[in-house]
Amino acid sequence: MEQMDRTQPKDSPRVPVGTMGDGGTTYSGVNPNAVWLNSRGIWLSYVIAVTILHLILLSIPFLNVAQAWTLTNVVHNIGNYIFLHMLKGTPWETNWDQGKSRLLTHWEQIDFGEQFTTTRKFLLLAPVILFILASFYTKYDPLHFVVNLSTMLLVLIPKLPQLHGVRIFGINKY
């Protein structure tokens, strides 16, 4: 389990720079994946998106409130895991960094590998708050608790700074 370097030095610019939209390549720039979660209004949009997901699940007639909350928690955590910890690299071409970000998951690319930034704290808090809400609305039922806790741990453990760049048993390495 080896540690990986950061993709950019700490004092890099915070904004991507590039040519016009001709194939999305940016020559002189930095990885937009590192900074777009700091964009204006993205956190509120994230909260609104989760709320809309929850309202959709609540409106399905055969689910009761407890199941809807647990499902919201589970769907959110699975989405969080897939997009932040499973998909590696960037969906656009990165000619400038010689493939350094190709092996990094999105979580590892955020803020160029710097730990404990506010975006990372927000993304860490979101599953925790959902877990607390889900526990409350499921009235602390044991089965729901096990499901909610395991998905929350699935999402929280990869976010620990000790696990930056770590690939257990070589899963998802390349």
């Binding site: 004092d11 991507p16 002189s28 937009p32 204006r40 209004g41």
Partner: protein, 491 residues
């Protein structure tokens, strides 16, 4: 943030941030595009969507899978593809003939329909209007073509040093008000081939603005020096980085830096902002660093007599150690120059990679630059140059002021002829460019990931040849479309 400078010049380039609702629509648009992108990829994989261009090459099918890295290109940028790289069939003067194209497979391949559309040209860097194909410049160029031929067939060091190159360099030095200048055949290579020669070797530090052009970044990387990037036009950040660098010295050994070079541009082409040159020079003198000023867009376009950003701020050109610029924008030619003291230029003449290995500038192109420069300086005996510069300044100020009055968010300094209009939502950018094209106005879009996610924009370049009627027509169209698409974000 507005600050008063000597001579009454203000730096007023901060623009309002994207309103929250526009940002939210941008995120929703991108989420929908991404969702449909995944859907289309899935349909292509199971064979329901038969677009074979997206599959990758036949002989590599089992070897190299279609990559995640081309996701944005396949699914988002191909939708905008018909608005970029449009072929033209006339010189890029104030009006340009754009060839119409259609696509049968969703913008993967185009074919020409045979029709042309004469559009008002807001996309070419034609600031002083020298891109025309008739007039005294073109006559002199044709004469030079007959005298010298088209090609030079050699490098400056060998047999490619013509009288016209020396005349061009003398004229450029006189134009800029410095001791000497050297010119190169290509603007990009002027930066990428010469920065390594100026700050090569160990112990050099380059402080580069975050929005510098790719040629500067390439030259800085090729030089092998340590590169630190400071926030765009942020003097406090630059000072902090300078102090940190000088106090801490070189990495590991902590020795003093041999050279510190600050690289900034005159006008930044995507932002339209003008560098705060007075402050940068103050910092440079205080800390003993050198200054490299890239005036690719600002030479000819700023200043009372078109001498660039140094005249705009009222700065002595000898305060800037290395003045670099290109002839592609305001002079209607090709190539670049570096100007400064005699020692600097002698060093470059001997050691520049471009003079050693690259062929020199073509003679008719050099003649075009000489003719246009003489017109700007007034040495041709008329005041045409002065009129062009004045018209560019009035056009710029009028256009930007009217856009601001209408309620759009316009980036950049109020004197900069590059006008980026903030249109955040990607679908609206596409719609705006398409609708403007329908009304015979051609301009260029820029979307994520080339710009920050909530700052998608269209970029318009004002020219001295634009008449008031053309600008009014453009402004009325933009206003009408802006009302329809609710783009007037400014509060």
């Amino acid at each position: 943030m507005v600050s008063i400078r000597k001579g009454g010049r203000k730096s007023s380039e901060d623009y309002e941030s994207t309103p929250f609702l526009a940002a939210w629509w941008t995120y929703l648009s991108l989420a929908i595009l991404v969702a449909f992108g995944y859907l289309r990829d899935f349909l292509r994989r199971i064979g329901l969507d038969k677009n074979h261009s997206a599959d990758g090459r036949k002989n590599m099918k089992e070897f190299v899978p279609v990559s995640f890295e081309s996701f944005v290109d396949r699914n988002i940028l191909k939708r905008v593809n018909h608005c970029v790289s449009r072929p033209i069939s006339s010189p890029p003067t104030v009006e340009v003939d754009v060839l119409e194209r259609t696509s049968d497979d969703g913008n993967w391949h185009f074919r020409l329909t045979g029709r042309k559309r004469r559009c008002i040209n807001l996309a070419s860097y034609n600031y002083l209007g020298f891109a025309e194909n008739e007039g005294p410049c073109v006559d002199a160029t044709a004469h030079a073509l007959q005298l010298y031929g088209a090609g030079v067939c050699s490098t400056r060091h060998e047999l490619g040093n013509y009288r016209i190159h020396e005349e061009l360099e003398r004229t450029t030095a006189r134009f800029l008000g410095v001791d000497d200048a050297i010119t190169f055949g290509m603007g990009f290579c002027t930066n990428s081939m010469n920065i390594p020669v100026l700050v090569g070797g160990k112990g050099c530090l380059i402080l580069s603005d975050e929005k510098n052009h790719a040629s500067i970044v390439l030259g800085a990387r090729l030089s092998g020096s340590v590169i630190k990037v400071f926030k765009h036009n942020d003097i406090d950040d630059l000072e902090e980085k300078l102090r940190e660098a000088i106090i801490n010295g070189r990495p590991k050994t902590r020795w003093a830096w041999r050279k510190i070079l600050i690289i900034v541009e005159g006008i930044y082409s995507m932002e339209g902002s003008i560098v705060k040159l007075l402050e940068v020079i103050r910092l440079k003198k205080k800390y003993g660093a050198y200054l490299y000023l890239d005036e690719a867009h600002s030479i000819g376009a700023l200043g009372e007599t078109g001498r660039g950003v140094t005249e705009h701020w009222g700065v002595d050109p000898r305060d800037v150690d290395i003045m670099m610029g290109t002839f592609t924008k305001s002079f209607g030619a090709a190539g670049g120059y570096i100007a400064g003291s005699k020692e600097l230029i002698n060093h470059l003449r001997a050691y520049s990679h471009s003079t050693l290995y690259a062929c020199s500038m073509s003679a008719p192109v050099a003649q075009q630059i000489i003719s246009s420069m003489k017109i700007i300086m007034g040495e041709d005996g008329t005041d045409k140059g002065k009129l062009r510069i004045a018209r560019l300044a009035t056009n710029t100020r009028y256009f930007r002021q009217r856009l601001r009055e209408m309620g759009f968010i316009v980036c950049g300094d109020e004197d900069s002829p590059v006008v980026p209009l903030l249109v955040c939502v990607p679908a609206k950018i596409l719609a705006l460019v398409e609708d403007l094209f329908e009304r015979n106005i051609a301009c260029a879009p820029a979307v994520f990931p080339a710009t920050p996610m909530t700052e998608g924009r269209i970029r318009m370049c004002i020219s001295a040849s634009h008449t008031r009627q053309m600008l009014d027509k453009v402004l009325d169209s933009i206003s009408e479309l802006g009302d329809r698409m609710q783009l007037k974000y400014s509060l």
